[in-house]
């Protein structure tokens, strides 16, 4: 039986504290890219009771995604925005989801993320990561960007950290493990990086600035 909204948020307040939960419920977070990083970040934030998520991805679920991304085999072929929305609402029926099935570019980034308090960069390609980080830092004066770089391969999960590069720019990952070096992407290590991104988002919303 699905819990009522009151039951759901009362359980979250019990875990997180009423003050923090109110901040989470009032927050809007944009997630740019819904692959291994983005789908896992979204699930962490939906479970934490974030009020609204803006999900941005142009792609569809592929069988090659299922080893690390939070989709079901039955969802292969669906737009990731729609598939993830379905899965997130199963977890948290009271979250607001805005699905944007578009390719993010320099031209539409500002419009897509303008409503967000924090933006999570969760793309696969290095140039896409750089594009969204540059756009958010250049075009906004107060928006925070959390990015993920360096989580490929089987190296130690302990190498993945969160760094504060400036007041509005946080970076998660080991900074060096490049998927283009042929080392693959493994669910566990990608999830560690995604959890770092989601965790610093929660800390920032609580008012904590240290990584």
């Amino acid at each position: 039986m699905v819990p009522t909204k009151e039951e759901f948020f009362s359980a979250l307040e019990f875990r997180h504290g009423r003050k923090n939960q109110r901040k989470f419920a009032d927050a809007t977070v944009a997630i740019c890219g819904l692959g291994g990083l983005g789908s896992n970040i979204a699930i962490c934030l939906a479970r934490a009771g974030i009020g609204k998520l803006i999900l941005i991805d142009f792609d569809v679920v592929d069988v090659s995604n299922l080893h690390r991304q939070q989709y079901m085999a039955s969802q292969v072929g669906m737009y990731k925005t729609e598939a993830l929305k379905e899965n997130l609402l199963e977890i948290n029926p009271y979250i607001t989801i805005e699905s944007c099935t578009v390719r993010m570019t320099e031209d539409n980034t500002v419009k897509l993320v303008s409503e967000a308090d924090v933006v999570c960069e969760a793309f696969d390609k290095a140039e896409c990561k750089a594009m969204v980080v540059n756009a958010v830092l250049t075009d906004f004066k107060d928006k925070i960007i959390v990015s993920g770089s360096g989580m490929a391969g089987f190296s130690s999960a302990n190498a993945i950290v969160t760094k504060k590069l400036s007041n509005r720019f946080y970076m998660c990952g080991d900074g060096v493990s490049d998927v283009n070096d042929g080392i693959g992407l493994i669910a566990s290590r990608v999830m560690v990086c995604a959890a770092h991104e989601a965790h610093i988002v929660l800390r920032l919303l609580m008012g904590e600035q240290t990584p």
């Binding site: 793309f123 750089a130 990952g173 490049d178």
Partner: protein, 64 residues
């Protein structure tokens, strides 16, 4: 002296563009912060470093 990615070096008079070219990295995959403020890509060649500046050139790698 200036600090580039945490390392002290002589770079007075050089531009951000000069430093990036010396690093031999792909300009499409970087973000640059000077004294904790983003440097827009269009300003790389017009931004000159001065004594005490702290420059961070963040180079992204693929995977997500």
């Amino acid at each position: 002296m200036v600090f580039v990615n945490g390392k002290e070096q002589t770079a007075n008079g050089k531009t951000v563009e000069d430093i990036i070219n010396e690093m031999n990295i792909d300009k499409r995959t970087i973000a640059v912060e000077l004294n904790e403020e983003i440097v827009s890509k269009v300003d790389y060649d017009s931004t000159t470093l001065k004594d005490g500046d702290v420059l961070e050139v963040v180079s992204f790698v693929g995977g997500g």
